[in-house]
């Protein structure tokens, strides 16, 4: 593993280990080692280094909330901002527990796109009306409530 211009270069084994963990992060070092013909200690060492370097950020459980009776709605919120304030707006949105993702996009105007969750439409509206609209630099907001999700996956990496 080498650092070049703040980008860490990985060898084939690192890429393979990352792929294996993305598919199932509960696999043991031995199981991963078997797949790629290396010792579990090698796998341990590679994973530890990738954790230390921040390449592996965290391990999480993907919970099916519907199965445990947690009801919520998800919305995609597009915030049109004054370019001078967009950084601050994005930071403020990132701090809110209702906001899961924040990205910026430059089309004709500077946009902030955020994924928001709330228990119901009233709570969603209150959050946007009381916490987002009053932020300095917010010009307008468009929100689409997601009614059905057909696919949701994280990007599976492939060796460059």
């Amino acid at each position: 593993m080498k650092l070049k211009n703040r980008v860490t270069s990985l060898d084939s084994l690192d890429w393979n280990i990352l792929q294996a963990l993305q598919e199932n992060s509960k696999q043991t070092y031995t199981e991963i080692g078997h797949c790629f013909g290396v010792a579990h200690s090698t796998v341990y060492d590679r994973i530890r280094r990738m954790e230390e370097n921040g390449i592996i950020k965290k391990y999480i459980a993907v919970v099916d909330l519907e199965k445990i009776g947690v009801k919520y709605i998800t919305a995609i919120m597009t915030v049109f901002t004054d370019p001078k304030e967009s950084e601050n707006v994005a930071k403020k949105l990132s701090e809110a527990k209702e906001v899961l993702e924040v990205s910026t996009s430059l089309s004709e105007e500077l946009l902030i796109i955020a994924k928001v969750v709330a228990k119901d439409q009233d709570k969603l509206h209150s959050f946007i009306a009381q916490e987002v609209a009053p932020l300095p630099g917010v010009l307008r907001i468009r929100t689409s409530i997601i009614t059905r999700k057909y696919k949701e996956e994280k990007l599976l990496i492939e060796e460059k």
């Binding site: 049109f80 509206h125 009306a129 987002v132 609209a133 009053p134 300095p136 307008r140 907001i141």
Partner: protein, 111 residues
């Protein structure tokens, strides 16, 4: 009504207490009013859909009562909601109610 109550209703509000006009859940028009005076003007300017959305949700009366602290105005708006007007009739009536209220408070304040 005391002069200080009138002054309180007519005060300029901080941005977090302004009224933000939406057309539906989460869709903010970019228009807001940070005082009763601004609210009177915005009622004339904003999209009709926005007025209908807020009136029938009870947002206007809630803002008048809880933020402006004008119970009388809140009560007038609530009565208007119960008339179930839409379109221009709604806009005209709402504007009439808030502008009359504003003018009355302003003249009381001037003594």
């Amino acid at each position: 009504m005391t002069l200080s109550s009138v002054a309180r209703i007519l005060r300029k509000l901080p941005r977090e207490n302004a009224f933000y006009f939406f057309t539906s859940i989460g869709n903010y028009t970019g228009e807001n009013a940070a005082s009763l005076e601004e609210f009177v003007d915005k009622v004339r300017e904003v999209n009709m859909k926005s007025l209908e959305f807020h009136l029938f949700r009870g947002d206007f009366e809630k803002w008048a009562a809880e933020v402006l602290e004008d119970g009388e105005l809140a009560e007038e708006i609530k009565k208007l909601k119960n008339l179930k007007l839409v379109g221009d009739a709604l806009k005209d009536q709402l504007h009439l109610i808030v502008s009359k209220r504003f003018e009355r408070l302003k003249s009381e304040f001037r003594g």
